[in-house]
């Protein structure tokens, strides 16, 4: 990649800024501060932190690549993602913030409603998902850093992941939220400016670009079967619903209102953001050769449209996109490790939990660096994690928030049956008839929940949610 000195200044400037913010937010004295920011995160920071987390490489570079080939097809299907986040903000996240102030993780919430065994199961799924995410983000960040520095890939993955781990290690969730705020600011300004430049510099008229967008979208939609569209829409709707980093932010908010506002704003922002990155892919037809590899369109557009120095900021913004997602899952994975696996058997003192949390950050980061070296298996692993999350956890988790009486067997039976079915359906049966594993897993999980609820209920034994 042709990078000028001014571009390097932009990239180094970004790292210096992140370092400064990490320094000012570094001191944590209690595990509550480390894991959920001592419930002191305001609504706007919940919003920017959530947005910075869900805007990963897929929701930026990947979306532009898809739009270059298929116009707004994926944008239309991904609107379900915004819908899901808004619905979580309206109905579920505030309940977490208001009625689970003593909880640090999804596992804690699950124990409250279904007992210790379900707590541990939730912890295992949470930690596995977070390690997988950290590894994938580390690999993508490493590839980006390698394209600028030409260092060996393994070194680049380690540099990106361990730099992220360093400020997560020192400052916990508040440092993560603060640096995500900075990262969100950077890419929320630089990337939309790129689209504005594309709009005003485009050699084609707005009507011609609109026609091209319609043509690409029609082609994209006609290339998908109804079942494929349903599968994609459902994956966007449920694949990431209240995964550990999002649930942590719901628990970290100052109040239920702050959670509600943050989630709703983040959901609405996804509608704007995804249109912007998809728009870049559509406008790219006016600026880059038609045979450009879709994955290179985003960077090529930046190189074409932005002056030296500002292009460096774009590279920094892409690194920020990767790091902001990585730091969230790293922090959540660590907290889940301490609360849901190590700390389930015996209560930990606050100091011990804090030390374990910090140590766990480094341990998970190192595991993720090692795992990242085993790609392409990682992507498959991540897909498995995705397909497990909603079928295994979503149903008992959300029902636990609303049902007055829950029974432990419903929780663990639903998790095992839903998650297990989804893995088998996706990995071994390869999704027969194109029916998405998430849907099958959810259906089986729902049936298992009902069976568990009926079989496991003994008079007076149901959990009323006050046992933790």
């Amino acid at each position: 990649m042709n990078v000028t000195t001014l571009d390097y200044v932009g990239i180094i400037g970004y790292f210096v800024f992140v370092g400064v913010f990490a320094y000012f937010t570094r001191r944590t004295r209690t595990f509550s501060e480390y894991s959920i920011g001592a419930h002191k995160v305001p609504a706007v920071m919940i919003f920017s932190s959530l947005a910075a987390t869900y805007i990963g490489p897929g929701f930026s570079v990947g979306f532009t690549a898809k739009a270059f080939s298929t116009g707004y097809t994926f944008y239309l299907l991904a609107l379900t993602y915004g819908l899901q986040t808004v619905l979580m903000g309206l109905f579920f996240a505030p309940k977490l913030a208001e009625h689970h102030r003593d909880c640090h993780t999804i596992g804690d919430v699950m124990e409250k409603h279904y007992g210790k065994f379900t707590h541990v199961l939730a912890g295992i799924v949470s930690v596995g998902l977070c390690i997988g995410f950290t590894a994938v983000m580390g690999k993508i960040g490493g590839i980006l850093l390698q394209s600028v520095t030409n260092w060996p890939l393994s070194v680049c993955i380690a540099v990106v992941t361990l730099f992220t781990a360093l400020y997560t290690f020192t400052g916990g969730l508040r440092a993560v939220v603060a640096t995500e705020g900075l990262q969100f600011t950077l890419f929320s300004i630089v990337i939309p400016i790129m689209l504005l430049l594309a709009f005003f510099k485009s050699p084609a008229s707005a009507a011609e670009v609109g026609d091209k967008a319609s043509e690409l979208t029609r082609t994209g939609l006609s290339g998908l079967t109804g079942m494929q569209m349903l599968g994609i829409a459902v994956s966007f709707l449920l694949g990431e619903t209240l995964i550990p980093p999002y649930a942590n932010r719901a628990l970290a908010a100052k109040s239920g209102d702050a959670t509600r506002g943050g989630f709703i704003a983040a959901g609405l922002y996804s509608v704007v953001w995804l249109a912007i990155v998809a728009g870049l892919g559509v406008f790219a037809h006016q600026f880059v050769p038609a045979d450009t590899a879709p994955d290179n369109v985003f960077i090529t557009m930046g190189k074409t449209l932005l002056p030296a120095g500002i292009f460096g900021l774009l590279l920094a913004a892409i690194i920020a996109i990767v790091m902001s997602s990585q730091e969230s899952v790293l922090n959540s994975g660590t907290v889940a490790l301490v609360r849901d696996i190590i700390g389930v058997g015996k209560p930990l003192t606050d100091r011990t939990a804090l030390i374990l949390g910090r140590t766990g950050t480094i341990v998970i980061a190192v595991i993720a660096v090692i795992v990242a070296g085993y790609s392409p298996g990682i992507i498959e692993g991540l897909l498995i994690c995705y397909s497990i999350w909603a079928p295994a956890l979503l149903l008992p988790f959300l029902l636990g928030l609303y049902l007055k009486r829950t029974v432990p067997m419903a929780g663990w039976l639903s998790m095992i049956a839903g998650g297990g079915t989804s893995i088998v359906w996706q990995t071994f049966l390869k999704e027969p008839a194109g029916i998405p594993a998430i849907l099958v897993g959810l259906a089986v999980g729902a049936i298992a929940y009902a069976i568990g609820h009926l079989l496991g209920q003994k008079p007076g034994s149901a959990n009323t949610g006050e046992s933790l």
Partner: protein, 40 residues
Amino acid sequence: MIYVVGIIFPLIAIGCGAVSFVALIKFVVEIQRDIRERKT
């Protein structure tokens, strides 16, 4: 529609970025105040 995607949405996103930056500064100042209060 192309005007909404090409002009309005980028301006909204830039506005969100700016608001977020102001909130970030307030947040960091609050954290610093917490740290100072704990020291004293």
